[in-house]
């Protein structure tokens, strides 16, 4: 394919998406039109083949179950208990419930792999508590939206499962690689909350005594045990990430139904269908992206892009800067998983060429896409929090900018200090060679 034809492919894709066709259909139709335009109608047989193969790989089964686990935890009373633990731990710092919001998201992230589950589920608890305590609704909404992006960075993580499945990278290593970046993001957001709280004179809560803290931890212990079971089980080789997602569901189900008794059997059809709605939206895009990616590779488009970029520069730091820029820009206009699936076939050969570790790149890419969840006009976490908090989209986006700066600084650190990502997986699983 010539460079002009390559540009035409991406132009057609952008035009179809802009017309309002579902993103998955836009991708599949671009591939179909490319086959026809290149005079290769025989390749149309690849449409169902690739779409089928793209959706039925075993690791992808973790997606519905991690979403289901998040939904069960939200309905089953685990989120309230996590919030109480976080409140006892950090509520006394200047900015009070702002910090609680961030820490609760970090704990919740250890059980759920979805930012939107955090924003819409735990977010509801957080925003309600902050409203009762008299916080500015825009501040509450902004902290909730920003902290929800930690969800898919701290393991488990749905984007890591998809990245691992699409690229053959170890999902276990990706999960471990997200630990320190997740902590870094949390720390950066807490510093931002502290600065804003100091400037605006926000309150802090009273420091709780050891007895109250212990009570909160004991009450939340079953909920806090979930991350240990999920990650511990994967690390100990007891189960695969996909099986871990199933175990997380069963654990949340047992807690919600039997221990906390906040899930009724009659709630289950609704919870299951909500899980499927999220899952299927992602899976339809994955299936179409599998076809689109196959077409790109078959036409050697990634090679063309790699050669073009490397001809401009072969410096790793510049290439990473360009990739970050492209991902952040796309994040303003597209849904994160779609961006991941669209760009993986192009970026993976590029990062291999300049010697970036795929685990480092997977975490880096996901972090970019999480920032994209906060940027209008298309930002899923932004919409979810706006809907939960009743704060209109644009005022919320304006309130978010200090947190965006904090997340961008975190991104810079993760981009240029690979050890932040690789240290934990190398330590626990040995260096990958």
């Amino acid at each position: 394919m010539t460079p002009v034809e390559t540009l035409a492919v991406f132009g057609v894709l952008a035009a179809l998406m802009l017309l309002g066709l579902p993103i998955a259909v836009s991708m599949a139709l671009t591939a179909i039109l490319s086959f026809l335009a290149l005079g290769e109608p025989d390749l149309l047989s690849m449409v169902p083949q690739r779409m089928y193969a793209g959706t039925t790989s075993f690791p992808l089964l973790a997606i519905p179950f991690f979403i289901l686990a998040g939904n069960l935890m939200n309905t089953g009373g685990m989120t309230q208990r996590i919030f109480r633990v976080a409140r006892c731990l950090v509520g006394h710092i200047k900015g009070g419930l702002g910090h609680v919001n961030v820490v609760a998201s970090m704990i919740f992230a250890g059980m759920s792999g979805s930012a939107v589950a955090d924003a819409a589920g735990l977010g509801l608890v957080e925003i309600e508590a902050m409203r009762k305590a008299g916080y500015d609704p825009r501040f509450s909404a902004a902290v909730t939206a920003a902290s929800s992006t930690i969800g898919p960075i701290v393991p488990p993580s749905i984007p890591f499962v998809i990245f691992g499945s699409m690229t053959g990278t170890s999902v276990g290593r990706l999960f471990l690689g997200g630990f320190l970046p997740g902590l870094l993001m949390g720390l950066a957001l807490m510093i931002t909350v502290y600065i804003i709280a100091t400037r605006r004179g926000y309150p802090q809560e009273r420091r709780v005594g050891a007895r109250e803290l212990l009570e909160a931890i004991l009450a939340g212990l079953p909920a806090l045990g979930a991350p240990a079971i999920i990650i511990g089980g994967i690390l100990a080789g007891i189960f695969t990430p996909t099986e871990a997602s199933v175990v997380a569901c069963l654990y949340a189900l047992i807690l919600g139904l039997l221990l906390y008794r906040e899930i009724r059997v009659s709630d289950l059809p609704r919870i299951l269908w909500e899980t499927l709605e999220h899952t299927i939206r992602v899976m339809f895009i994955i299936s179409a992206a599998s076809l689109f990616g196959w077409m790109l590779i078959q036409q050697r488009i990634p090679n063309l892009v790699v050669e073009g970029l490397v001809a401009l520069t072969d410096r790793r730091w510049v290439i990473l800067l360009i990739i970050n820029g492209i991902l952040l820009l796309l994040g303003c206009f597209m849904e994160g998983i779609a961006i991941m699936l669209l760009t993986i076939p192009v970026f993976m050969p590029l990062i291999a060429r300049v010697g970036v570790d795929p685990v480092h790149f997977g975490v880096l890419m996901t972090l970019n896409l999480m920032i994209g969840l906060l940027t209008p006009p298309v930002g899923m976490a932004l919409y979810a929090v706006s809907s939960v908090s009743q704060v209109p989209l644009w005022p919320l986006a304006r309130e978010l900018w200090p947190y965006m700066v904090a997340l961008l600084i975190s991104l810079g650190i993760v981009t240029y200090i690979p050890e932040v990502v690789l240290w934990v997986p190398d330590l626990l699983m040995g260096a990958a060679r």
């Binding site: 998406m17 309002g20 139709l29 149309l44 169902p48 039925t56 289901l68 175990v247 895009i285 299936s287």
Partner: protein, 170 residues
């Protein structure tokens, strides 16, 4: 789950919607049970689940494609709606909807037909352990395709000849 209101006639369309949703949900529950059993028998080898991989793929495929058709009927797949929101209610918006419907039809015809051929090619093949016919797996694609085609064709017809009460032809 949406259920038909009491006293309202249950149309074939509503039955189809319920079948798609429940079919997809049952596949999810089945997968949950099967995978949980897989973890369990690793520690308590009560029975063999060697056949499970074949059924997992079957349930996964049907869950995804039935669910895709269910969400298609509800226009619930992720799309960039900036332009359609901008032109909503104008003649340009109607034209845009017509174009989008036409393009979607092109995709669906290809998917359904090629999916049907794929299932046909698998006739005679059986799975190694259960010896179930392989087309059972692939036929999920044309089945979902036909449902989506039917819905999209109905929308196309309504665009050309709006039904009474269809203000904007949807």
């Amino acid at each position: 789950m949406r259920r038909p209101a009491v006293g309202r006639p249950v149309s074939a369309d509503r039955l189809l919607a319920a079948a798609l949703r429940w079919g997809s949900v049952l596949c999810l529950v089945f997968l949950l049970v099967l995978l949980a059993a897989g973890v369990l028998v690793r520690f308590v080898p009560l029975f063999s689940l060697g056949w499970a991989d074949e059924v997992v793929e079957l349930a996964f495929a049907w869950m995804v494609f039935l669910g895709t058709a269910a969400l298609w009927r509800e226009d619930a797949h992720i799309a960039v709606t900036f332009l359609s929101d901008l032109l909503s209610g104008t003649p340009g918006g109607r034209l845009l909807e017509g174009l989008v419907t036409l393009l979607a039809l092109g995709f669906l015809v290809t998917l359904t037909w090629e999916g049907w051929l794929l299932a046909g090619q698998a006739v005679g093949n059986r799975t190694p352990i259960l010896e179930w016919p392989k087309p059972l797996w692939y036929v999920s694609i044309p089945v979902a395709g036909i449902v989506m085609l039917g819905h999209t064709l109905r929308r196309a017809i309504r665009l050309i000849r709006p039904a009474p009460g269809d203000r904007r032809g949807r």
